[in-house]
C-alpha cells in the first residue's frame, strides 16, 4: 500500500516521466488529486464572483425590465452567437489537449493548446473590435459615462453597467486564460507533460471550462432578452 516517497525517479525519459511528487504527498496521484481539488475550490470562488453579478443582473432586470429589453436590443446577436461558438470550440480543444497529454501525444497536445489560444484571441478581438468599440463610440456606456441620446428608457445606463461589468470581468478571465495557455504551450514544448504528469494541463483546462460555462449563461441572459 501507500508509503511515503513511493515514487521512484527514473533516470531516463522526459521531464514528465521523471517527475516525482513533492515530498508531502504520498505519490503523484495523491498530488494530482490534491491539486485538482484545490483548483475546484478556486473555481467555486470564481462561480461566487460571477454569482454577485448574476444577482445584480436579477435585481436590475426585475426593477427595470424595459431598460433591459431596450438595451439587449442594441446588442448584436450575431457577434454574441459567434463568440459562443468560438468559446465552445475552445472548450473542446482544451479537453482534447488534456486527453492528448494523458495519452502522451505531444504534437496533438501542442496543436490543441495553440487552437485554444487562437479561439481565445478571436473571442477577445470580436468582443473589443465589434462590440465594445462601436458602443463606446456611440456613448452606450455604464452609468455617468452614458451619452447615447436615443435611449428609450431612462434606466439604460444601468443596463450598460451590467453589460460592460459582467462581460469585461469575463473577458479579463479569457485574457488571463490566454496567458495560462501560453505558459502550458511553452512547458509542453519542453516535454513537461505526459501520461504520468499533466496536472497543470488539467488545472488550466478546468479553469478554461468554467470561463466557458460563465459565458454559456451570460450569452442568453444578455443577448436574447426581448
Amino acid at each position: 500500500m501507500s508509503t511515503l516517497h513511493a515514487d521512484h525517479a527514473p533516470s531516463g525519459g522526459t521531464y514528465a516521466d521523471r517527475y516525482v511528487a513533492a515530498a508531502h504527498f504520498r505519490d503523484r496521484d495523491h498530488e494530482f488529486e490534491s491539486v485538482k481539488m484545490g483548483v475546484w475550490l478556486f473555481l467555486s470562488t470564481e462561480i461566487l464572483l460571477f454569482a454577485g453579478m448574476f444577482v445584480g443582473y436579477a435585481i436590475l432586470r426585475m426593477l427595470h425590465p424595459e431598460a433591459f429589453i431596450a438595451g439587449s436590443g442594441k446588442l448584436s446577436t450575431f457577434w454574441g452567437l459567434l463568440n459562443t461558438v468560438v468559446l465552445l470550440i475552445s472548450s473542446w480543444t482544451v479537453a482534447m489537449a488534456v486527453r492528448s497529454a494523458q495519452l502522451g501525444k505531444q504534437g496533438a497536445l501542442q496543436f490543441h493548446l495553440i487552437v485554444t489560444n487562437l479561439c481565445a484571441t478571436a473571442f477577445v478581438v470580436i468582443k473589443l473590435v465589434f462590440e465594445y468599440y462601436p458602443k463606446w463610440q456611440e456613448g452606450k456606456l455604464p452609468g455617468k459615462w452614458f451619452s447615447y441620446p436615443y435611449a428609450v428608457d431612462p434606466s439604460e445606463p444601468l443596463w450598460w453597467g451590467i453589460y460592460f461589468g459582467s462581460t469585461a470581468i469575463h473577458a479579463t478571465h479569457v485574457i488571463i486564460g490566454m496567458g495560462l495557455l501560453t505558459w502550458l504551450l511553452i512547458r509542453a514544448r519542453k516535454g513537461h507533460f505526459g501520461p504520468h504528469h499533466y496536472t497543470a494541463v488539467e488545472g488550466v483546462g478546468l479553469y478554461w471550462h468554467i470561463v466557458d460555462m460563465v459565458w454559456i449563461f451570460l450569452f442568453p441572459l444578455l443577448y436574447l432578452i426581448h
Binding site: M37, A95, K144
Partner: protein, 226 residues
Amino acid sequence: MSSHADPHAHAADHPRTHGHWNPHTHVVVSARTLTSVLVILLVFTFLTVGAAKAEQFVMYTIGFPLPGWVNVAVALSIAVVKAVLVAMFFMQLKYDNPMNSLVMIFCLMALASFLGFTMLDLGQRNSIYPFKSEYIVPGGTGIKGDGPIATLARQKAIQDGTYDPEHAAHAHKFIPPGQDDGPGSSAQRSRPLKGLTLPELGAAPPAKHAEHSEHGKPEPAPAGGH
C-alpha cells in the same frame, strides 16, 4: 502503490459508468464522447437563439402575449443543460472524485440562496414601501444636472446639434410591427414593473415633455410587448 508501477492505469480509454472512483485510475475520455458533447453544445446554442426568435415571432407577429418569465425560463433551462454537459464531460466530473462534484454543488447552493433571498426581498417591496418610504432617499446619478442620465444625454445632443430625430425613430430593435405609433416608454417616461422606479426616473412633468417635442423628436415606440 505507485502509479508508475501500473502503466495501464493511465491509458484506460473507456469511461467508468458507476462509482468506485479510484485516484490511481485516470480516466481518458474518448475523443468520440468529447466531440459528441461539442456537437450537442453547438446545437443547444443555436436552439437557444432559435427559441428567442420564436418567442419574438409569437409575441409580435402572431400577437400572442407570452408572459415575461418564458424568455428567462427557456434561456436558463438550455443554459443549465449546456453547463451540466460541460461539467460532466469536459470537466470530467462524471468520472472524477465525487468530492469535486460536492464542491461545485455546494457552490451552486450558495448561488441559489443568494438569488432566492434577493427575490424574496424584491417580491416584498410593495409591502415595505408604504411604511418605509419616508426613510428612502433616492441615490444620485454621479453627474451634475437635473434628471436621468439618459435625458441629459439627449438634451446635450440636442444642444450640440448632433441629435437626429430620424435616427431616434429607427434606432431601436424589437419595435412590434403596427405598434410604433402609440405612446410607450421614452427617456421622459418609464413604465416600471410594479411602481418601483424612484420619482427621479419616473414620469416627467408634461411641460418638460412638450419642450422636447418641439425639437421634432418623434415619440419612441414601445420597446416591448408588456
